[in-house]
C-alpha cells in the first residue's frame, strides 16, 4: 500500500497510475485521517517552495506526516519540490522546510555553470549512484530521468547523497537518510526508469 500525500501539488494521478498498473494499492491522502496506517508515503511537489510548504500546511496533514515519518519510521519519498521540502530551508522562499535531512535548497546561478548550460535544468539527464541503495536497484547504469528545476538540494552531510547528477557541476539528485528519501527528478515522468524506481520504493 502506497499513500500519496495529496495536498494539491504534483502529479498525484500519474504516480497513482504507475502503482495501480503494477497491482499495488494506492491511497490519496487529502486529510490527516486518510494517512492512518500508512506503510509508505510519497510527498510529491511542483512549483515554488513557499507555495508548496504553504499548501502542505493548509492541508492539515503536516503533523500526521511528521508523526508517521519521524516517530513511526514510515518510509517517505519526496519528489522534486517534495525532495526540496525535506531540507531546512530554501533560497526560493522564506518558510522553513521540514528539516528531515539537513541541507539548504540553493538556486542554480544562471551563467555560472558556463557557456551553453541553460537554466533552468530541463530535460533528461543521467545519475551516478554514490552508494548502493535499494531505491536505485537495477538503475545503476544507463538509467535517465526527467529533470525540471531551478533549485537544488545542498546537503550538509555528503553521506546523505544517494545520487549525483552533472549539470555544469554536480549536484545531489537524490538524498536519503534512514526512512527519508528524496529525488529531484520526476520518476512519474521518466518512463521505464521512473517506474522501476517507484516500484523499488514500494518493495524496498
Amino acid at each position: 500500500m502506497i499513500t500519496i500525500v495529496n495536498y494539491g501539488l504534483g502529479n498525484v494521478q500519474a504516480i497513482g497510475n504507475i502503482y495501480r498498473k503494477a497491482g499495488i494499492p494506492v491511497t490519496l491522502a487529502e486529510k490527516p485521517e486518510d494517512m492512518v496506517g500508512a506503510e509508505r508515503l510519497i510527498l510529491p511537489g511542483v512549483g515554488a517552495f513557499d507555495w508548496a510548504m504553504h499548501r502542505l500546511e493548509e492541508s492539515g496533514m503536516r503533523p500526521a506526516l511528521q508523526d508517521l515519518v519521524l516517530t513511526k519510521g514510515v518510509p517517505v519519498l519526496g519528489i522534486c519540490v517534495g525532495m526540496q521540502m525535506l531540507a531546512d530551508s530554501s533560497e526560493e522562499g522564506v518558510l522553513p522546510g521540514l528539516g528531515w535531512i539537513s541541507g539548504t535548497v540553493r538556486h542554480f546561478e544562471p551563467g555560472a555553470a558556463g557557456e551553453g548550460v541553460r537554466m533552468p535544468h530541463m530535460g533528461w539527464n543521467d545519475i551516478a549512484t554514490g552508494r548502493s541503495h535499494p531505491l536505485f536497484a537495477g538503475l545503476e547504469s544507463d538509467a535517465r530521468f526527467y529533470f525540471l528545476h531551478s533549485y537544488y538540494f545542498e546537503p550538509v552531510e555528503h553521506d546523505t547523497v544517494l545520487a549525483w547528477t552533472d549539470y555544469g557541476g554536480r549536484f545531489a539528485s537524490s538524498v536519503g537518510r534512514g526512512n527519508v528519501l528524496g529525488v529531484q527528478f520526476h520518476p512519474e515522468k521518466s518512463h521505464q526508469w521512473g517506474v522501476r524506481l517507484l516500484l523499488n520504493f514500494a518493495r524496498g
Binding site: 504534483g10 498525484v12 551553453g116 539527464n125 525540471l148 515522468k189
Partner: protein
C-alpha cells in the same frame, strides 16, 4: 549529460487532434488520449499539447481534457491555450502538468509571466512566440494569438523580453514552416539561442531526423519539437503516430555531446 529533447507537439481542436499547415487547413489526426498512449509506448522525451481554439474563442482551458492527459502521460507535459491568469497556471499545474505556456500575455499582460513564476516556479512557465518572416526585410517578427496578431517586435526581442520577465523556457513556433516538413529555420534558431540563456525549443519545419540533427548541430542542447513529422507517414501524409527509436536518439545525443566537448 543533459540530452537534447525531441518533442511531439499535438494540436487540439474541438475534441480531436489536428495538424495544420501554415497555422491553417486543420486536418483531423486522431484522439488525444489515444495519441498520448502511443507516445508513452515510444518513450518520448516530452509532449506539448496546444489547444488552438481556446484563446480565439475566449474560453477557459478544457480542464477535464488536461486532467486526463496529465494522468495518462508518462512523460512531461506542456500545455498551452487560453491561459491568461495566474490562477489558471495554478490549476493546470495542480492537475499534474509540468509546464504551462502563454503567448499573447508577453505583450498584452507582461506581468503575468513573473507572477506565474512566483507561484508555480519559473521552470513551469513557458512563453511561446509565433514567428513569421517579413517578406520585405527578411526579419523574423513575433506574432501572438495563434499567428493572427502582429507584435511589431522581432522574435529575438520577444525572446529577450520573456527571459527578463522570468519565463523558464521559450518555444519559437514558426508559422511559415508549420506543416512544411522542409527543415527548421536555422538562422532564427541561432539568433534565439544566443539571445537567451533559457532552455529553448523550436517548432515548425521538421520533416526528418536529419532536420533535427541540423538543429542540434546549429544550437546545441535545445528542444526540437515537431507536429507533422510524428503524426504523418509517407508522401501521402497518412496518419501514423511515430517517433525515432531510442538507439537513433541516443546516437544523436552522443553526437551533440561530442561536438560540445570538441568545441
Amino acid at each position: 549529460m543533459l540530452r537534447p529533447r525531441i518533442i511531439p507537439c499535438l494540436l487540439v481542436k474541438g475534441a480531436g487532434l489536428v495538424k495544420t499547415v501554415g497555422f491553417g487547413r486543420p486536418k483531423y489526426v486522431g484522439d488525444p488520449i489515444n495519441a498520448v498512449r502511443i507516445f508513452n509506448e515510444k518513450e518520448v522525451d516530452e509532449l506539448v499539447v496546444l489547444d488552438i481554439d481556446a484563446t480565439a474563442e475566449g474560453r477557459e482551458p478544457d480542464y477535464t481534457l488536461i486532467r486526463n492527459l496529465a494522468a495518462e502521460c508518462r512523460m512531461p507535459l506542456c500545455y498551452g491555450g487560453g491561459v491568461s491568469r495566474v490562477d489558471q497556471f495554478e490549476r493546470i499545474v495542480s492537475l499534474g502538468v509540468e509546464k504551462v505556456s502563454v503567448g499573447a500575455a508577453i505583450v498584452e499582460n507582461p506581468n503575468l509571466v513573473g507572477a506565474a513564476a512566483r507561484c508555480v516556479g519559473s521552470q513551469s512557465v513557458v512563453v511561446i512566440i509565433d514567428a513569421r518572416r517579413d517578406a520585405q526585410t527578411g526579419r523574423r517578427l513575433g506574432w501572438v494569438r495563434n499567428g493572427t496578431v502582429p507584435t511589431g517586435l522581432t522574435v529575438t526581442d520577444l525572446v529577450r523580453r520573456a527571459t527578463e520577465l522570468g519565463a523558464g523556457e521559450v518555444v519559437v513556433n514558426n508559422i511559415d514552416l508549420d506543416g512544411s516538413m522542409t527543415g527548421y529555420d536555422l538562422d532564427l534558431a541561432r539568433e534565439v539561442g544566443i539571445a537567451t540563456s533559457l532552455p529553448v525549443t523550436f517548432l515548425g519545419g521538421a520533416g526528418s531526423l536529419t532536420h533535427i540533427r541540423e538543429l542540434f548541430s546549429a544550437v546545441g542542447v535545445v528542444g526540437a519539437a515537431a507536429g507533422s513529422l510524428f503524426v504523418f507517414k509517407g508522401s501521402l501524409r497518412a496518419v501514423l503516430i511515430n517517433y525515432p527509436r531510442r538507439s537513433d536518439r541516443d546516437e544523436l545525443c552522443l553526437e551533440v555531446a561530442n561536438r560540445s566537448v570538441a568545441s
